[in-house]
Symmetry: C2
């Protein structure tokens, strides 16, 4: 069972067709309170299967990506007597697809899921790769599975209502995918103005999803090559958590974009990653991804501690980074010393101007 | 990653070796209060890896196979800072392996599990096939996954402390496996006295597990051929639930043994299953599997309703049975009318003498 990706100008019609092909005994739609109000009606208007489906609504936001929310979905599925041939359609951002994907992966040991990502970030990240899960004890995605939906229907028609920050957040993951892929793709992305051209983005999104799929293929459980997709995430997660403590959450893709700059600095030092590409990438990030908190060397101890807590970091002595010898040439498991990370953070701050 | 089966005369030593090969960052042992007291000490005495492991104890019994219990395991894993390379060892009956298997399959999206089944039923059934799960809203295994442990260590040294009913219960699934396999294997099982010879059973157990694996192979998610393993379970589950309502729970394997007789009667009527084999099988069940409740035709409506509620029964009009053309020749998805089931129950009661 391999996941289908449908890049669609008419998601309701494509969803109707996909559901018909799956021939389910019943259909449940999971949405959060926002997508239930703004997106689901667009789908019910043009898809009889969605109109006839049971709507299961969950609270919005990552804080509600909990086991309690998963239980409310399982309960609703049981109440509607969903069986093994039922289909769950998740309509929303990554919070909804992760949560509903987990509920589907575990209800009766797994029913089929279809994702309709409504944010750019969910389209280019959560919709591919099969990571499902909920937060537990305040730990992100502590409980979950690797289970791909049967299909993801990806449409830029949903992106027109996103805020510029939401568009930029998704674009951060697209930049990362371009770094992992090839210089031409990276050039196209750095020449684009994401926040202004969101609805014209579908071809770039398709290209981006295919890069992600290439790294996931044959390594769903993140044993080796898939870990290249962690590029930018070691420092990125630390930025994300520091921001949360200091001021307010920053969008995930902002953290990843900045984390990629740190990774490219380390890549330059350790693997000779080209300096001109590093500079043009950093310039794009500095221009499009302003952070509303400052960073001084006094913050380094906390940042370093947060990097150690990253769940992909299995060693306690050094820091494990995915680095690039050049665009499209990732090397996983690069062990970097604390001094190296400090130096890279200094250079990163110079480049970004913070 | 294919599951290993180790049929062992020295389970502690084999467990030590298996854990060494897995090279985990840490080890957790999950046991229920009984196996923690009686079995885990036997393992810690001879396995330094188990002695050094964190013991996570859960309450015993199917009523405690809950999401709460799974949460207590996840919490304990998080507290010991188990990471993706940790290993969970489940020591107990099917309740423990199902529950701990589910917790392992979902902690950080899946860590490796090793099963040490301590009952015959768990050895021949729960330890193979990858079904994990917990009960939810009173519905059996409503939440779970199909995830195989990396290894199961099966030893008849644990069976010497089982009650005769526990031995017979596991033997019920072994009888089913023999029916699905070949006449010689069935002949060997019908000539054996399970309750009296439990500790000499390891070769028969190995043979039985291999039959199960043959049907699971290539169909983990129960799409087609695996469903042959439901032989005896349509009527069996109904007997089990009726008994629970009427008097007290009957062991699962008792229900399966009786369910197999019903299935063989239907097999004789519909597919010409040989009458002599049906009779010798029914005689063995009548002799070894006494039920402490009676069954009259007044019970049929309730039994039929329970059969319809079986989650494998996707049709509402007819009853879906796995039947046998002869020993070793299963046919899944045999649609049987209500009248046929009533007739089969009449003949079953005659054969068993209830």
């Amino acid at each position: 069972m391999t996941q289908k990706f449908i890049f669609s100008e008419n998601p309701a019609a494509d969803l109707e067709r996909v559901i018909a092909e799956l021939a389910p005994t019943s259909v449940a739609v999971v949405a959060d309170v926002n997508t239930a109000q703004y997106v689901v009606p667009l789908l019910t208007a043009a898809s009889p299967a969605i109109k006839a489906a049971n709507l299961i609504t969950v609270k919005a936001g990552d804080l509600n990506k909990t086991l309690d929310a998963a239980q409310s979905i399982w309960r609703a599925l049981a109440q509607m007597q969903a069986d093994r041939r039922s289909v769950l359609v998740a309509v929303g951002g990554g919070m909804v697809t992760d949560l509903a994907g987990f509920a589907a992966a575990t209800y009766m040991r797994g029913i089929r899921a279809v994702y309709v990502p409504t944010t750019l970030l969910a389209a280019v990240d959560a919709s591919a790769g099969g990571k499902t899960g909920v937060n537990f004890l305040g730990l992100k995605n502590m409980v979950g599975t690797f289970t791909e939906p049967v299909a993801a229907i990806i449409s830029s028609t949903f992106f027109s209502t996103l805020t510029p920050d939401e568009v930029l957040s998704g674009y951060g993951e697209m930049l990362k995918h371009a770094l992992l892929s090839d210089a031409k793709m990276l050039g196209r992305l750095l020449a684009f103005t994401p926040a202004a051209q969101a609805s014209a983005m579908l071809p770039l999104v398709e290209e981006s999803v295919k890069v992600k799929c290439k790294f996931v293929e044959g390594d769903l459980r993140e044993g080796s090559k898939r870990r290249a997709l962690n590029l930018g995430h070691s420092a990125g997660h630390a930025f994300e958590e520091l921001a949360m403590k200091r001021t307010a959450a920053i969008p995930h893709g902002f953290a990843v974009a900045h984390g990629c700059v740190v990774a490219l600095v380390l890549s330059h030092i350790h693997l000779g990653f080209p300096s001109d590409t590093l500079h043009s990438f950093a310039q794009f990030v500095a221009q499009h991804y302003p952070l509303d908190f400052t960073l001084t060397c006094d913050d380094y101890p906390e940042l370093l501690a947060l990097m150690h807590h990253d769940k992909k970091n299995t060693s306690r002595q050094t820091f494990n980074f995915t680095l690039l010898a050049e665009v499209g040439k990732p090397q996983i498991d690069c062990h970097v010393s604390e001094d190296d990370v400090r130096n890279a953070l200094d250079i990163y701050r110079d480049l970004i101007g913070i």
